[in-house]
Every structure is written in C-alpha cells, then in structure tokens.
Subunit: 363 residues, 2 copies
C-alpha cells in the first residue's frame, strides 16, 4: 500500500487529502510552495509535539518563519478561552491574512485549531496533519471545527475546509492499542453506512487491525476516508446526506453526556449507538442476517458494560442534540451493511425501544 491522494471539492475550493505510507513526503512538493516565504503557525499539544513535531521539520523548511502554538492535551482544549489565547498570540506574532496555520494532532487539536484558522482575521488557510487514527479516518476530513460550551459539546463551531489533509501512517505506529480500538468503531460505522467491502475487511482482519498491523490499517484508513470524502463532497453543510455520518452518534453523544466524557470513551459510546441503531434499523428495513453480522462484529470489539443508566435521562439529552430540528429528531438507521438512511422518529417510540435496549445492555 502506498499513499494515495483524493480531492474533496467544496464551496470554497478543493481540499487535497493524502493518506497512507509516505503521505508527508508525497505531499511536500505541493505543500511547500503554499508555505513558501510565509509566517506559519503550528498548532499542537505538548505530547504530540514531543512525539511527532520533528516529522514535519522538512515540510516546514519553505516557511519564512515558524511560530509554535500550544493547546492543552485533551477535550479541555476546545474552549473559547483557547481560541482567544491563540488568536492573541497570532496577532502579537504578526500574523497576516496570508499567513498559514498547520495543525498537528488528533481530533481535539484539529477542532480548536481549525476554528482558530477559520476566524483569525476572518479566516486564513490551514492544513490538517492528523496524528491519530480517529482523526485520520474522521475528524480531519470534512471541515467541521468546534469548541465546547459547559452546556453542550461542539455547540459552537464552523464549517471551514482545510486546504490540505496529510494522513501519514507513521503517526499511527505510536498509538496505544486502546486508541486504535476506539477509532475502529468509526471505521465500522463508516463501513455500515457506505462500504460493505470495508465491513468485510474489518470482519476478516479485526485482530490484525487491533494489533496495529500497518498494511491492513492503511487499507482501512484509505477506504474509510474515501467514503467520508464522497459524502462531504456531496453535502458539505450537513443536509441529509452528510447526516448519514452521524450513524450511532445520536445515542452515542447522549451516553457520553450522561455517563460522563471521562468515564465512557467516544468509540465505545458510538459502539453502543451502532447497536441501538441496528435495533431501530430492524424495525425499519434492515434484514435480520445483516443485523446479526453487525452485532457479532461489535461484540468482538469488546464494549465495556454500562451501569445504572436511565432511558429518561438519555432521552432528555437527545432532545437537546444539536442535530435535532425544531420539528423532531432524525435518526440514521442502517438499511443494509453498506447503506443507511435518515428517518424521523417520534420520541415516544424511541424511548420505548431504548428502555428495552438498556435492559439488555446495562448491568
């Protein structure tokens, strides 16, 4: 497997995405002129900087001036306070509209860094260099950026596309197995909603993937990214098509909120969300054998037990979901392995299913 490049066309231009072994080296020829003789801000967190900053040294050679910006490690980075501090540092460092911003890190660094690029001087060009599996298959692609409010995660943000995404597999070698396992839930989500062959790849190679096998991982990353790029290109601003990517996330987000983001990992939450969407899908048009395959694969991925959850609390949180319209909550349901659709469901019906689902899943 070698790096491949895919183009994502959108309202404001094109994002070129390189994915796979040697992506950084392959991208350099095109990205260097874009950095050439500019002031370049590199946004990263301390742990990522320590592990990976040197990997982009040669990419940054063309820059006139490199200014390092640091954000806290973890979800707490995603705040207005961080954006305010970063933009102040950028003003003080002499940032201009034709300066560039390069994000090196996982999803949270990407979210707050992208938001910063999108609003500094009303927007400067930026690049995403995702260093986690989760960011490579999901967060870094599609231009969604965000910060959190105390009341709601990702409640503030921008759709603002990076000019480049460079997903080099070298970054994946340092990931702990648990980070890979968590990200696999997003890969499985993508497979269920849009790529049956990817689902079969995960089915047949789950153990290799969990062990971080570079060859299979590269294939899975490329396929997952390709599905996401196709969907975002068709629907940048999250009309019905892009909403398919929320498969498993409606209940997933609610679980994270109710259990606590520190207590339940995002991947596991999405795993439960996928299980519940499969239940609802069967009440819709998902055939039993496909539902059974989904359940079997998720079962092999090792979901933690949940304790003491109440359907009512989850239902309340879901009603405040930012994807909720005033007209009601749209659910993404699998219709087969490799396809999904958006269905608006009455809250009462969902609450009923949710109660039985929790009885079966919760200690």
């Amino acid at each position: 497997v070698a790096a491949q490049s895919l183009d994502l066309s959108h309202q404001t231009g094109t994002t070129r995405v390189w994915i796979g072994p040697g992506a950084l080296a392959q991208a350099a020829a095109e990205v260097s002129p874009w950095l050439g003789r500019r002031k370049v801000f590199v946004v990263s967190s301390a742990p990522v900087r320590k592990l990976h900053r040197r990997s982009i040294d040669s990419l940054l050679d063309a820059a006139a001036d490199v200014v390092e910006l640091e954000v806290p490690d973890g979800e707490s980075a995603k705040s207005f306070a961080t954006v305010e501090r970063l933009t102040r540092e950028m003003v003080i460092a002499g940032g201009k509209r034709d300066s560039r911003l390069v994000i090196l890190g996982g999803g949270t660094v990407g979210d707050v860094g992208g938001f910063t690029a999108g609003c500094f001087l009303r927007g400067i060009d930026y690049a995403q260099i995702p260093t986690t599996l989760l960011a490579q298959v999901d967060a870094a692609i599609g231009g969604k950026t965000a910060v959190n409010l105390p009341e709601a995660k990702n409640a503030v943000g921008l759709f603002v596309q990076p000019r480049w995404v460079i997903s080099d597999d070298r970054f994946l070698r340092t990931l702990p197995p648990e980070a890979i396992r968590q990200a696999l839930f997003e890969i499985v989500k993508t497979a269920i909603l849009g790529d049956r062959a990817l689902f079969e790849l995960v089915e047949s190679s789950l153990e290799k993937l969990l062990a971080g096998d570079p060859e299979v991982l590269a294939q899975a990353v490329q396929r997952t990214a390709a599905v996401k790029i196709g969907i975002v290109a068709a629907d940048e601003r999250e009309g019905d098509r892009r909403r398919l990517l929320n498969l498993g996330h409606t209940l997933g987000h609610a679980l994270e909120t109710v259990v606590g983001h520190g207590e339940l990992a995002h991947g596991d939450a999405v795993g439960y969300g996928l299980l519940f969407a499969t239940v609802l899908g069967e009440r819709n048009q998902l055939a039993g054998p496909d539902a059974e395959r989904i359940r079997r694969l998720l079962g092999r991925m090792g979901l933690p037990r949940l304790a003491g959850l109440e359907a009512r609390a989850l239902s309340e949180v879901m009603a405040r979901d930012k994807k909720a319209r005033e007209s009601g909550l749209a659910w993404v349901l699998p219709v087969a392995i490799g396809g999904a659709e958006v269905v608006e469901l009455a809250r009462g019906a969902v609450d009923h299913e949710l109660a039985s689902f929790l009885e079966g899943s919760v200690e």
Copy 2:
C-alpha cells in the same frame, strides 16, 4: 422615495436588502415565512431595545417563540466573552440549527450578533435590522462580522452573509446629529470610490443631510448601499475589489488606535484617512481639481483638530493592519471622484508624506 430592494448574490446564496421608508412593512411578507414557527433569537442592546424593539413586533408575529438576548452598549460588546455568553443562553433556550437570529442595532451589535449566528451550531440563518445610519450604509451589508482582541480591533471574525437586511428609515429619526455626521464620512468615502452623482448629492445637500432630512437621507442611503452591494457581490472575500471599501481606513484605523477609540470617532478618523488618501492620490493619478473638491467637502464636515501625533507611531500601527500582507501594505487611492484603485506603496515613501500631512493637520 419609497423602500427599494436589492439582491446580493454570494457563495452561499442571496441576501435581500430592503432600504428606505417602509422597509420593515415591505419586507414582512417575505421574512415572516422564514421566521414561521421557529424559535427566534433577537440580539440587541438595552438602549436600542428601548427605542426600537416595538417596531419589529409585528414582523416577529410569525415566530413560535421569541428569545431576547442582550449585549452591552458600545464597542465592549465585541468580545469572545459576549459570544460565549450568547451561545450558552441559546443552548439553554433550546436553540437548534433551524432557529433564527435577528439583529436589531448598530454596527457593534451587528458585528457580534453576526459572529454569534455564524458559529452557533456551526451557523444558523440570521437577519440584520440596522438601526444606525452607519450600519445601514455600511456595516450591515456584506457579511463581515467580528469581535475585538485587546491587541487589535476586529482581529477575529467571519465572513457570513445575513439572509435579509432591513434598513428602515424610521430608525434614523431618533439619531443624534453627531451620529449622522459621523456616518456621512462613510457615505462620502463610498461616493469618492464609486459614485460621482452621490458625491454631488452630498455636496449640494450637506446641510440637509446633517439636519437629518429624511428625503435626502433616504436617497443617500440607497445610493451608498447600492455601491457597496455591487462591490461585495463582485468580491465577497476581500480581494482587490472589496478592498476599495477600505478607502480612508488604513490611516483611519491607525488614528483610532493611537489617539484612542474613545477620543476620536470612527467617522472623523476616516475623514482624516480620506484627506490623506487624497494627498497620496494626487502623487498617483488624481487630478488637482477633484482633489480640491474632496478637500473642500471634507472641510465643510467639521473635522476635530488632532494634537501631538507622531508619524512613527501611526506607521507602526499601520504595519500591523490586518489588511497588510506579508509583502507590504496596499493603499486604496482615489483616481477621480467616483473611482479608486489599490496601490502597493513602500513604507518609507508613505511615512514621508505622512509626516508632512501631520504637520499641516495637527496642532
């Protein structure tokens, strides 16, 4: 003069702008369905709310639910702190992606309200109802939104177009004469860069305009807005064409920073900026008689004396201007009454002219 409507086409759709007597009533038929059965957030300041909130009561009749949001009066409203508070209130009130935001106020309310609409849940539709002359002819049109940083005004913001702009002349009746005088500098700026007939209207009717004569004012507002709409439609993201609107603002912003925003009003600062751009314009291709007419008109508008200014301090601030590119500072210079162009000037040459200009203008 009756209200007219003009359409501004841009990357994400069309903004319809109503301007003049009866604009609110005329807009209602189209705007009501857009508000229909939605949660509507009304962003305003206490003084504006007191004076004008009832004027939009009937417009809001169609809404399911109206939530009032208040921002501080004046420039201090334009902060990350305000945006964070507003978005938190919107989450708590149950705001959704298809909720609407209506901004009632002048430029500062418009800037921070527009930024809030642009990033809440990654962007919700909004309308501008500008209540000041300055906002009607300038700030409310074109989708520029912003907050300030301690280091720089408008250093953070978004290009995000409102769905509607409703500039009713009823709001202008309560404006103090000084607010009208300040806004006239933007009208004269627009006349110089793009509408000779508008310049002649101001020349022939300056006293009526200063006195708030509704008939002449409505004509001037409509003509000024039309020029701005034409420019923004051709160049939404401030390439060279939209930069023409910065005529007089390069020195103007620097003066505000150095003298202090509380000490020197924006219009007066732009007035000085126009005088200086006229000097530079004469060194370029502006003919003497046109330069003289510009100076004469600005002279009649009553600029305050400036004291103890140093060219070096202004030059330093201009070098940090957010419109500066890393390559240098582009100046907008009049080439005739009714036309301007962007010229890149070496800092040394400008500093030299600025020193003599200050000698002639500063006590």
